[in-house]
């Protein structure tokens, strides 16, 4: 079994930092989906695909951060 070389206090700081970034990205995604839905229902379809791409990018960043967090526990 391998263990994280970091102490509990260090891991706590890391999880707080990651959580902050994830929260900011999720709030951005919330704003993005609200704005996209408003534009879509208003007949403006031009921003739909770029917004989907931006949201997928945010998801990719979040998933990467979560993966890093999971690896901390191994």
């Amino acid at each position: 079994m391998t263990h994280s070389p970091r102490t509990r206090a260090q891991r706590l700081s890391i999880v707080y930092g990651i959580l902050t970034i994830v929260l900011i990205l999720v709030v951005m995604q919330l704003w993005l989906i609200t704005a996209t839905m408003n534009a879509f229902l208003g007949g403006n379809h031009t921003i739909v695909w770029p917004a989907a791409l931006a949201s997928m990018t945010c998801l990719g960043l979040n998933a990467g951060l979560l993966r890093y967090l999971m690896r901390l526990d191994r």
């Binding site: 208003g42 007949g43 739909v48 989907a52 998801l59 998933a63």
Partner: protein
């Protein structure tokens, strides 16, 4: 391995990180509990992020499959409506109720009759030059279809009309954001 500053003595005498997962997930130390709860909250937020991304892709797919333009459709004869009267019709499909309003002898207006707030049917109040949504007291300006009061934020979709030889035709739907 560095000392993890654990204050808990485990029954088997081994270090915290050598304990089974169930014991590590329900720690006794406050710091360890805080770490676990923040980590699990982060997992939940990433799941929320996945839900938002799926929603965005869903909107994009809807947009991809809804690009066809509506075809022209006969609505009514000009003489079917007197000045200041309104009638209901459906356009572009039978599931899209609309309102045709005759403001004056030569002026016809048509809007989707579904409120842009929560899709309740709006009612014409021609004496006040407005359309009224009774569900949440939303009002739309009759001349423009823009929201005048209440919760709606987007204008009613306008139905483009063409009048030819005494017949009113709907030709297109104009959706607007402001």
């Amino acid at each position: 391995m560095e000392d993890d500053n654990s204050t808990t003595a485990f029954p088997d005498g081994r270090a915290e990180q050598e304990q089974p997962k169930w014991r590590r997930d329900f720690p006794i130390d406050v710091e360890a509990d805080e770490y676990g709860s923040r980590r699990d909250f982060t997992r939940f937020m990433v799941l929320t992020s996945l839900a938002f991304a799926c929603g965005q892709v869903w909107i994009a797919l809807l947009s991809f499959f809804r690009t066809r333009r509506p075809t022209e459709q006969r609505i009514a004869a000009v003489d079917d409506l007197q000045d200041g009267q309104a009638m209901v019709f459906h356009y572009p499909t039978n599931r899209d109720p609309c309102l045709l309003i005759r403001q004056s002898e030569n002026q016809f207006l048509a809007y989707s009759s579904l409120c842009t707030h929560l899709m309740c049917p709006v009612r014409p109040e021609l004496e006040h030059d407005r359309l009224h949504c009774p569900c949440h007291e939303g009002y739309f300006d009759l001349a423009t279809g823009r929201p005048a009061a209440g919760p709606p934020r987007r204008p009613l979709p306008r139905i483009r009309l063409r009048i030819d030889r005494g017949i009113v035709y709907a030709t297109d739907v104009e959706e607007r954001t402001s």
